[in-house]
């Protein structure tokens, strides 16, 4: 090509590579947020007693065995021992529900089970009950690699989630990729930016002085860039959650995680 000699041609090639890299599904690194945390946070997470998130796992275990709703059934009534029946389940979420045709995360699945199978009211996001049950179920997959599947049934959702991830938003005009891929490992004031994986959720966050969901953390990020907060359980957050799950494919579930 005659343009090869011209600098602008190389510039265009470089720009093309950068754009391609921006749109990539997996960043060059694949490290959990706990690897970016301080020694104290890592110690706190590793010890089941020191890990305050385990209080919600204990709560979830109690709820799992408690009868509820019109039917008076408990989760255990159908699913028996969660340690075997729920093992590996969290690694496949969010997923496309065949019956309803909806994209469900663990929280939505638990609420769907409550309404349809138990005849019970759905739990609100960030309630101790929903956090407890979600943490308890996800905890049964601790140590197992995330393995969400993208196929024709959920590809549209996945692509929309990816678009959200790469879209500049808010007063600060930042996209997730700008911090969590282009600047992962670097400092933002007193914090080290992680890669933004959701493999440890629900987490106990020192800042919250409580356990919280991935949607709560995502909303905090939106707040951080001064963008309008999508609602808990909204399509935007669910689709972003699906994209993030695919992006974190292979990382081990750590629920309950501890973060600052």
């Amino acid at each position: 090509m005659s343009c090869v000699r011209k600098r602008w041609c190389w510039g265009l090639l470089l720009a093309g590579c950068m754009v391609a890299a921006m749109g990539a599904d997996n960043g060059p690194r694949q490290r959990s947020g706990v690897d970016y945390a301080s020694e104290y946070i890592r110690t706190m997470q590793a010890d089941d007693f020191s890990n305050p998130g385990m209080l919600w796992v204990t709560r979830g275990e109690k709820l799992w065995n408690a009868s509820d709703g019109r039917t008076g059934k408990s989760c255990a009534g159908c699913h028996q021992d969660a340690r075997s029946s729920m093992k590996g389940v969290a690694t496949r979420y969010p997923l496309q529900d065949r019956d309803s045709g909806k994209l469900l995360n663990l929280e939505a699945r638990i609420n769907q089970c409550r309404q349809v199978r138990q005849g019970a009211e759905p739990y609100r996001y960030e309630s101790d009950e929903l956090l407890g049950l979600t943490a308890y179920v996800a905890h049964q997959s601790r140590g197992l690699p995330l393995a969400v599947r993208i196929d024709d049934s959920n590809r549209e959702h996945y692509l929309r989630g990816r678009a959200t991830y790469n879209r500049r938003q808010g007063q600060m005009n930042l996209a997730c990729v700008n911090c969590h891929e282009q600047n992962a490992g670097r400092r933002l004031l007193a914090e080290t930016i992680s890669e933004g994986h959701g493999n440890a959720y629900p987490i106990y966050r020192l800042e919250w002085q409580s356990t919280g969901s991935l949607h709560r953390r995502l909303r905090s990020c939106y707040f951080g860039i001064r963008a309008q907060l999508p609602a808990y359980g909204s399509d935007e957050l669910l689709e972003l959650e699906l994209f993030l799950a695919q992006r974190a494919r292979g990382l081990a579930v750590e629920t309950p995680g501890v973060r600052r």
């Binding site: 385990m54 709560r59 101790d128 002085q209």
Partner: protein, 106 residues
């Protein structure tokens, strides 16, 4: 209140054993405001007692200086087999309790 207690499964008489308890409680300081600007009233677990077969072996008087979802680790000498009984109360008068069995040989 949800609580988790950890004591060794087995101990020999005379062993110094670690006793651990974690309780879910906001330990509300009384200095925070809700999103509407209303002050959230102080509410902390102000007193926690541990009794070993009925005898008090540890007591904690706490304030808002103790972190939310308080976690405590202290020690006791393994004597007879029996029960560790924890009782605590917060500023609202809400009580909590938890028990743990202790098996001591020798």
């Amino acid at each position: 209140m949800v609580a988790r207690v950890q004591v060794p499964a087995n101990a020999r008489r005379g062993d110094v054993i670690a006793v651990r308890i974690a309780i879910q409680h906001p330990m509300e300081t009384g200095f925070r405001y809700d999103l509407r600007g209303k002050l959230l009233p102080k509410n902390v677990i102000n007193s926690l007692v541990c009794r070993y077969n009925g005898t008090e072996i540890f007591r904690a008087e706490m304030g808002s200086g103790i972190a939310a979802n308080p976690s405590l680790q202290f020690y006791t000498v393994a004597a007879d087999s029996g029960e560790l009984h924890f009782e605590w109360v917060d500023d609202r008068g809400v009580r909590g309790e938890e028990r743990a069995r202790l098996v001591v040989s020798g």
